[in-house]
């Protein structure tokens, strides 16, 4: 697994931003990463003229044990399943799944078929969460409001998040 990367965003006098980063061992805890992030921010701040606006930690995830993770010949990331949920606060939460498996789509309605096990598993993940060691992580909106309720889940053809030509 790759190291944990702390990425700082720095802003100059014209409000232009750039990032700088530093890496720590993948085994470090959130508390220790935050402790180091504060110390590094302090020493960086002393040698710069801009403003450190934010810092995030990027964690790598081991996906080597995934199954059913092979690309098919007709795969196209612009063919997406678009799911919209609404949180307790009324905020829209959208998740677009690139290159959706067409057998999951109801041909008459264009909606994802909720009776399909894969679709049911996705909706259960979004609405009820996933059990992890010591708790359950339930998705939420950007302000951490939870209790997501599905509004629609249908096939679309459009850009799904950040898209770029591969090499």
């Amino acid at each position: 697994m790759p190291p944990i990367e702390i990425v700082y965003t720095i802003e100059d006098r014209r409000k232009k931003t750039a990032t700088t980063s530093i890496k720590l061992a993948e085994v470090e805890s959130k508390a220790r990463v935050n402790l180091f992030a504060v110390a590094w921010a302090n020493v960086v701040d002393n040698i710069i003229t801009g403003v450190i606006r934010s810092a995030i930690a990027i964690l790598g995830v081991d996906i080597s044990s995934l199954t059913s993770n092979t690309v098919t010949n007709d795969s196209d990331v612009e063919e997406i399943a678009s799911a919209q949920f609404r949180s307790d606060a009324g905020t829209k939460v959208e998740v677009n799944i690139p290159a959706v498996l067409e057998t999951l789509v109801n041909n008459d309605t264009g909606n994802l078929e909720p009776s399909a096990p894969q679709v049911a598993a996705f909706l259960a993940m979004m609405e009820d969460g996933i059990a992890v060691t010591g708790g359950t992580i339930i998705p939420c909106d950007i302000g951490e409001e939870g209790n997501l309720v599905n509004v629609y889940f249908r096939e679309r053809s459009r850009n799904s998040g950040t898209r770029k030509a591969g090499g």
Partner: protein
């Protein structure tokens, strides 16, 4: 604190890439996020004909404990950087760190080399090379392969695009 983002990146048969994001609360541990992300990756992989080639988690950090300037000086420019090259503990490997809006008051007079006698530069290099002591347990910066960083080999001012 803003929610944590779990980012799933896909690649299709034509080599095009696309990512999707699921937000989760900020109150969990790194290990718990990784568990969620790995399980969520399988749920998404089961629904897609593309290859899920990368999963990462972006966790916001709290810098309220730092003493940071709140206004950029009139000379602040993100193109002006400090480039610091650090040798890792494995021979031949190194790490490069670019620090935007570098203040050239921290260079040796008449040179673009960072002044290692300057206390601010010294503090940065010491933290980079020796790490941070957390109750007797060091938190050590590493290179991209996870090897400890040993020694700064170059520290100069550069002008580069962001």
């Amino acid at each position: 604190m803003l929610a944590v983002s779990v980012i799933f990146s896909f690649r299709d048969a034509k080599g095009k890439e696309s990512s999707t994001k699921i937000r989760v609360p900020s109150t969990f541990s790194f290990a718990q996020y990784r568990e969620f992300a790995a399980a969520g990756a399988q749920v998404l992989a089961n629904m897609s004909t593309a290859e899920l080639y990368d999963v990462s988690v972006a966790v916001g950090l709290d810098l309220s404990g730092a003493s940071l300037r709140t206004l950029a000086t009139q000379f602040a420019d993100v193109f002006q950087k400090a480039l610091i090259v650090v040798r890792s503990s494995v021979a031949g490997l190194f790490s490069r760190i670019n620090i935007p809006t570098f203040d050239d008051a921290n260079t040796v007079d008449g040179s673009d080399v960072l002044d290692i006698l300057d206390p601010d530069v010294q503090a940065l290099i010491t933290l980079l090379e020796d790490g941070l002591d957390d109750g007797g347990l060091l938190i050590l910066p590493v290179d991209a392969r996870g090897n400890d960083l040993d020694e700064v080999s170059q520290a100069v001012e550069k002008f580069r695009k962001s």
